[in-house]
């Protein structure tokens, strides 16, 4: 059973801050530990900024999820940007095309429990992450 999801646009730096605040609120509500809260908020911050910088803006959807045993939080980042041509390369630590540290995408993957990326050159990128309560 899933609760209603909340959507936010990502078109400016301020929107990234809003995404972060929403994720923190939901993470607290599903009773994630302080460390996991910080991890999911940081991952959301990275991916929302990628949506903005590389995807040219898009949308974020935050949902509380449950399975048989535990609660969690699922976040979907979707953009209609240029997509990722070489996914393996993009997921390599230290690789960047935007002048950052090159750790956002690969680091975010390490911060969450489930990480799914759906991208095609020219078709945009959709990333889904899930963090479960321990």
């Amino acid at each position: 059973m899933n609760d209603e999801s909340q959507r936010l646009p990502v078109d400016t730096d301020r929107d990234v801050v809003r995404v972060r605040q929403l994720v923190r609120t939901v993470a607290v509500a599903v009773k994630l530990s302080l460390v996991d809260q910080t991890k999911i908020v940081t991952a959301a911050s990275e991916l929302a900024r990628n949506t903005l910088v590389y995807g040219g803006g898009g949308e974020v959807e935050v949902t509380r999820v449950h399975n048989e045993r535990r609660a969690g939080i699922r976040i979907v980042f979707a953009d209609q940007g240029p997509g990722i041509v070489d996914l393996d390369l993009a997921l390599t630590d230290g690789y960047t095309t935007g002048g950052g540290l090159g750790l956002g995408l690969s680091g975010a993957r390490r911060l969450v429990d489930e990480f799914d990326i759906d991208t095609e050159a020219g078709k945009g990128t959709t990333i889904t992450i899930v963090k479960w309560c321990r």
Binding site: K39, T42, R110
Partner: protein
Amino acid sequence: MSLSPDEASRFAHLLSSKAEPLAARWAELVAAGLRGRLSSAELRRQTSELQRAFQQAFDAGATDLTSEAAAELRAQLDELSTNRARQGFTATETAISVYAFKEATLEILGSVDDATTLRDYVAFSGFVDRAALFTFDSYVRVRESLIADQAEQLLELSTPVVKLWEGVVAVPLVGTLDSARAQVVMERLLQTLVDTGSPYAIIDITGVPAVDTQVAQHILKTVVAARLMGADCIISGIRPQIAQTIVALGIEFGDIATKASLADALRYVISQNKRAGR
């Protein structure tokens, strides 16, 4: 719906012939809505001025609020909402100041028994509605500019560089470290290093809720810049959850000294100082 020139002139006549009682009643109605937060003399002055502006607009043949003849009236309305917004009145309280004009006019008209007067009043009422909407728009614009100003001030306020000890300056970072703030922080820190000739700078991130790669990169750049100027940087205030997140992200701080608390950082700097015989 706009006024016909006939209607405009009839209203100009009504407003000038009943100027005194109309402005007085209008001021009373506004005063009731504002519950004594503006003196009645002040309100009386405002309604008289507004009423004169309405009258002049109608006299000049203004059939619509956007027309040339209503320019003076628009300026008056704009001034009213600017003042209300700055004095902290709500949007409703501001709009009511204009809407009350309709009620006052209706009372002065007395019983409306013929169709012409009724049609006139409806047209006039539409005009005042647009005036109130205009006030509302100006109100929102003023509030938005106030908020923008405050955001600017916050940017300035939230990044102080403090002298902690002889030769030690500290930057306590609080809140979100976006590019604009990171730039301000770096400039302040580097300038303070020059001004005080301090060999040590402590960047405290206790108040930063999440350290992502962008924040880390801003901090790293600041540290490198400070080093180029001959100052050593220590990063303090790294809480357990932040430490674990930084490790998972794969951010490396290299040979930059990091401490859990500001006190640890200060202790470290002082011991370094002693070792160097300063």
